[in-house]
């Protein structure tokens, strides 16, 4: 007879002293871990609920401006520094870690229309209603010196926007035409126009740095190549585009913030249909900015809210609002991709977390592992109706909520009308136009 009994030595399963860690032998045999899927589902449900519990995105409000904030700019080198221009011509430089204004400049008479930093971070440019372009030093004047711009360019017409080249000492302004300036000269290198209109914003492409995009009040978006003296092509939309933003990771993709409450992501190579129509706002979209990862962007709207959209989704994943925030004029995503700033009509700049439920500060390795695990679980079970409902739920102010309802009814009526028209006309005579194509009027080359 040969016999062996299972006999464990307790010493190899129990810790020796109280100072030791407990011994936890593992066995990954599936029969010892029954109900794997239902338990993971419950964990995912709990993680989703906790995410909603901890979703407190608002971090700080920077107050100090004496008029509405009209424009914002990031510092290219310092994460903590941010610049803002107000409607009374004042420019402030803020420190985000201290949440304080570190420097104030009375830059213009009337609005500061645009502000941008030089790529090296030593100076910045402003344009204002007083028909001037001014270059300022980033750090304020020395002791006893007066605050004066490094350079001032007096123009003939009002400038409405400015953007600096990402690598060279060149910047572009817009107004009645798009002007490209050398920093050293007082007259533009070249001016580009396409018809008569006032151009509201101009943006350099961060990857293909010679490319520019601008949007004008006659409803079009025009693309330029700096190396040529003429514009490349333009797309005419249904309504006016307020501003555009290039995707920092995909050179040919840009997103346009439109007056018709929607945002349109275009592929520069095929402008006749937008890649994606992003709709959720209930009023004109005023500003848009991409996250440095190029996977999300944030949009500011006249409906007193900001929304975060994934690039490949037509619906927003997040909406931020507070009781006191009025029409949001400008918005920026910080370069570490963690925070969002927005400047609004009621003179405040607000700082938000980009990921509403993220825990700030240093995480321990166990915390990090737990969040990663929960993230994966949420991803795995995201399509389950219960989990989807919880993760999608957002509280909205009454005004936005009722407007959404109203617009849903309007959209439904339009759709019904279209359906009826197709039904009651000769088959094939009325074509169904997709939502994407509907808004593009023409592409001109």
């Amino acid at each position: 007879m040969k016999v062996k009994m299972l006999s464990r030595n307790p010493d190899s399963y129990v810790r020796e002293t109280k100072l030791d860690l407990q011994r936890v032998p593992r066995n990954y045999d599936p029969t010892l871990h029954p109900f794997e899927v239902p338990r993971e589902y419950v964990r995912a449900l709990n993680a989703t609920k906790l995410e909603r519990v901890f979703a407190k995105p608002f971090l700080a409000s920077l107050d100090g401006h004496r008029d509405g904030v009209s424009c914002l700019a990031k510092h290219p080198k310092s994460l903590a520094t941010v610049l803002s221009g107000a409607c009374d011509g004042e420019v402030r430089i803020w420190n985000l870690t201290k949440r304080k204004c570190i420097h104030t400049v009375q830059a213009h008479e009337g609005f500061v229309r645009g502000i941008c930093t030089r790529f090296c971070g030593t100076s910045f440019f402003t344009v204002g209603d007083d028909k001037t372009v001014k270059q300022w030093k980033m750090d304020g004047p020395g002791y006893g010196e007066e605050e004066e711009p490094l350079h001032t360019i007096l123009g003939k017409t009002v400038y409405t926007g400015i953007d600096h080249h990402w690598k060279e000492a060149v910047f572009a302004t817009c107004g009645q035409q798009v002007d490209i300036w050398d920093e050293q000269r007082t007259s533009p290198i070249c001016s580009m126009t396409w018809g008569f209109d006032s151009i509201s914003s101009v943006k350099f492409n961060p990857i293909e740095t010679f490319l520019l995009g601008s949007c004008a009040s006659d409803r079009n978006i025009v693309l330029y190549d700096m190396r040529q003296a003429t514009p490349l092509k333009k797309v005419i939309l249904d309504m006016r585009t307020n501003t555009i933003c290039w995707n920092p990771m995909e050179a040919f993709i840009f997103t346009a913030a439109n007056e018709d409450y929607n945002l349109y992501t275009f592929d520069m190579r095929a402008l006749d249909t937008p890649v994606m129509v992003h709709m959720d706002h209930v009023s004109a979209v005023l500003d848009v900015d991409y996250s440095p990862t190029g996977k999300d962007f944030v949009s500011a709207s006249f409906d007193k809210s900001i929304r975060i959209f994934p690039v490949d989704k037509s619906r927003s994943r997040e909406v931020y609002h507070t009781k006191r925030m009025q029409h949001v004029i400008c918005v920026k995503w910080t370069s570490d991709s963690k925070y969002i700033m927005c400047g609004s009509d009621e003179m405040n700049i607000r700082l938000w977390k980009a990921n509403a439920s993220e825990k700030l500060g240093v995480l321990t390795s166990r915390e990090k592992a737990a969040t990663d695990y929960n993230q994966r679980l949420k991803e795995k079970f995201q399509h389950h109706p219960h989990i989807k409902r919880i993760s999608r739920h957002r509280h909205l102010p009454k005004s936005i909520y009722s407007q959404i309802q109203e617009q849903r009814i309007m959209k439904e009526a339009r759709r019904r009308k279209e359906l009826n028209r197709i039904k009651h006309s000769k088959p094939g005579s009325v074509q169904r136009v997709s939502e994407k194509k509907k808004r593009v009027v023409a592409v001109v080359k």
């Binding site: 007879m1 016999v3 066995n27 010892l32």
Partner: protein, 611 residues
């Protein structure tokens, strides 16, 4: 010893390795004294450069190992000449890696951890979705390989009992085993002589550390049976029908003559649940925190012990219920009835999920094994049957016992114990969780009284038997899973660990509605509601947004884009699509025809009516 890496083609013979070991350590700049040793000479330093260049060829040599990390079959050792031609792999120092490439993992072990059914083909879908599915599948395979690797780290080996040639293990009595094994194991065999309080029911806690038993005449006790430390002992002054630990050893449910009572580990009565009256059997579902009770009145009641609410009370409509067991794989309750059927219940459904006709007379005992594949039943017709629970519910094997078994129990490794009168028989299969063969018993044991309750102790090679003479703890080598998981159920856990585990377990309490026959159904695509949604959307929109728009030929370069050529191209694509459709329908048709024809029968005049 499956996990030991098998010598591959590029592995040098063991003899060389041994020789190398015996030699004193040699630095790489030193010249080797015997350059002929198995062709493993590093050569002069000038040649080393060439050796380094050879390194990128390494994948070629380890081709079979690289392509899939699972070794499909034991690799046949090649002839020595071939081996030399392949060239051994060297590191910079000239030392040779005897086990180059990833360690091979046996297929069966990987199969155990595999969660994806590889036989199913991926559905035809968009390239984006498809690539995502493929990535997920690859990840899954990697995980299962890693899990299989981790088997090497398991510390304990399962027990066994083998007779010398010709010797029948069933003839070996407990005294022999006790004599043969070590003292610690021998102490696990004991008898509690409790003749006074009548036949006993017993229950081990989930960790296998604690034992609770209750006698017909009201004696209830709980003890740490390994150290024999008594936790509590009371007399409830009422008949005890059944006893069961709740999720931890601190709570104890006792089915008494009238009502269900819950005691703590000091014997203090915490609850008396009057909504559950005249309970005959108790069953605890640990992951759902449900206490299932079967009553004399024919009701199956689920009590959520974490919130104290009755989740479901189901009327089985089959008279008195006194045969109940749970399927540990999917938390389905199996009830045995007097008409010979076994019905399967979940709290989400008012009706049984399935009814299986098992015996001609009434069902006396039911047991389900830990993987949820086999169900053993015994009936008044003296039959013992084993059923397959995976879909078909067909009997796999049957055997007539002279007296018929009154109590059945499966062990963690798939041993089946049956109590017939005052004898306990145990049958074993080949390997873990295999079907126990009913011809020859593995062990038998005669007790002092009639068997009244049976349970294998989890994680110990012990079978607890409650009988009219008290409690017997039998040694059954090879019954239990040798390696426990410390985070799931740890027999050696401290109080703090238990508290922590309790909080975690309560946080991931599975809702009662999720109990169904296939516990993995939650991870699969809900095709029915998906199709319903699609239909609703089609109704709402008035058109199907997923349909491909009709092909429009793109205008080509100058000169090639005449109207005729456009029409031709369009025609071509349409014809191709049409041919595809015809091909598909043709593929489906022959199956229909085959079904219509009666197999192997002569053509008859009535064939014309067959559709």
């Amino acid at each position: 010893m499956e996990a030991v890496p098998k010598p591959g083609s590029n592995v040098p013979p063991k003899k060389d390795k041994l020789q190398g070991k015996k030699k004193k350590p040699r630095r790489y700049w030193e010249e080797e004294t015997t350059p002929t040793a198995a062709g493993a000479s590093p050569g002069p330093p000038r040649k080393r450069k060439r050796n380094r260049e050879l390194r990128p060829q390494k994948p070629k040599n380890t081709h079979s190992a690289k392509k899939s990390r699972i070794s499909q079959k034991p690799q046949v050792p090649k002839k020595p000449r071939e081996r030399r031609s392949l060239g051994p792999q060297r590191s910079l120092s000239g030392a040779q890696d005897p086990f180059a490439g990833p360690a091979p993992v046996p297929v069966e072990v990987v199969q155990k951890f595999c969660r994806i059914d590889k036989s199913k083909k991926l559905p035809r879908s968009e390239t984006k979705i498809r690539s995502r599915l493929e990535a997920a599948e690859a990840q899954e395979e990697e995980i299962s390989v890693k899990a299989a690797r981790s088997e090497l780290l398991l510390a304990e080996e399962p027990g066994f009992l083998e007779g010398e040639d010709g010797e029948d293990t069933a003839k070996i009595c407990q005294a022999d085993i006790v004599e043969a094994v070590d003292i610690a194991s021998a102490a696990k065999h004991f008898d509690l002589n409790l003749r006074q309080f009548g036949p006993y029911r017993l229950n081990y806690s989930r960790t296998g550390r604690h034992l609770a038993f209750g006698g017909r005449r009201g004696h209830v006790a709980a003890l740490d049976w390994v150290t024999k430390k008594l936790m509590c002992e009371i007399n409830v002054m009422e008949a005890v029908r059944d006893i069961r630990f709740l999720h931890s050893e601190a709570l104890l449910a006792v089915a008494q003559n009238r009502w269900l009572h819950i005691y703590d580990n000091q014997g203090i009565e915490l609850h008396c649940i009057r909504r559950c009256d005249r309970i005959t059997r108790l069953e605890f579902l640990p992951f759902h925190f449900l206490l299932a009770t079967a009553s004399e009145t024919g009701f199956l009641t689920y009590l959520d012990v974490s919130v104290g609410k009755i989740v479901a009370a189901l009327n089985a409509r089959a008279g008195r219920l006194d045969v109940m067991t749970q399927n540990p794989y999917n938390a389905i309750i199996h009830l045995g009835h007097s008409n010979g059927t076994v019905s399967l219940w979940s709290p989400a459904m008012k009706e049984p999920l399935a009814k299986i006709l098992c015996h001609r007379g009434g069902v006396r005992a039911v047991a389900v094994d830990s993987t949820g594949t086999h169900m053993a039943t015994s009936g008044l017709d003296h039959q013992l049957k084993i059923f397959d629970l995976r879909g078909t519910f067909q009997p796999l094997s049957a055997r007539t016992l002279p007296q018929g078994a009154g109590h059945l129990a499966f062990s963690q490794r798939g041993l089946l114990a049956a109590g017939t009168g005052d004898v306990v028989n145990i049958w074993a299969g080949q390997g873990k969780a295999s079907l126990p063969s009913l011809e020859q018993p593995y062990l038998t044991h005669r007790l002092l009284g009639h068997v009244h309750g049976l349970q294998f102790c989890p994680f110990e090679d012990v079978l607890g038997v409650g009988h009219s003479g008290g409690i017997t703890s039998m040694l059954v080598p090879g019954a239990a899973e040798p390696n426990f998981d410390g985070l799931e159920s740890n027999p050696y856990r401290s109080r703090k660990q238990r508290q922590e585990w309790e909080v975690k377990a309560l946080l991931e309490k599975v809702p009662a509605e999720l109990i169904c026959l296939d516990p993995r159904a939650l991870a699969e695509v809900d095709v029915i509601s998906l199709e319903q949604e699609k239909k609703e959307r089609l109704e709402r929109l008035g058109y199907d947004p997923d349909t491909k728009p009709p092909f429009q030929p793109k205008p080509k370069q100058k000169g090639r884009s005449s109207t005729a050529s456009l029409v031709k191209r369009k025609r071509k694509v349409m014809d191709e699509e049409h041919r595809d459709k015809v091909r598909q329908s043709l593929e489906q048709q022959p199956q229909k025809q085959e079904k219509a024809k009666p197999m192997g029968a002569r053509p008859s005049a009535l064939d014309r009516f067959v559709r």
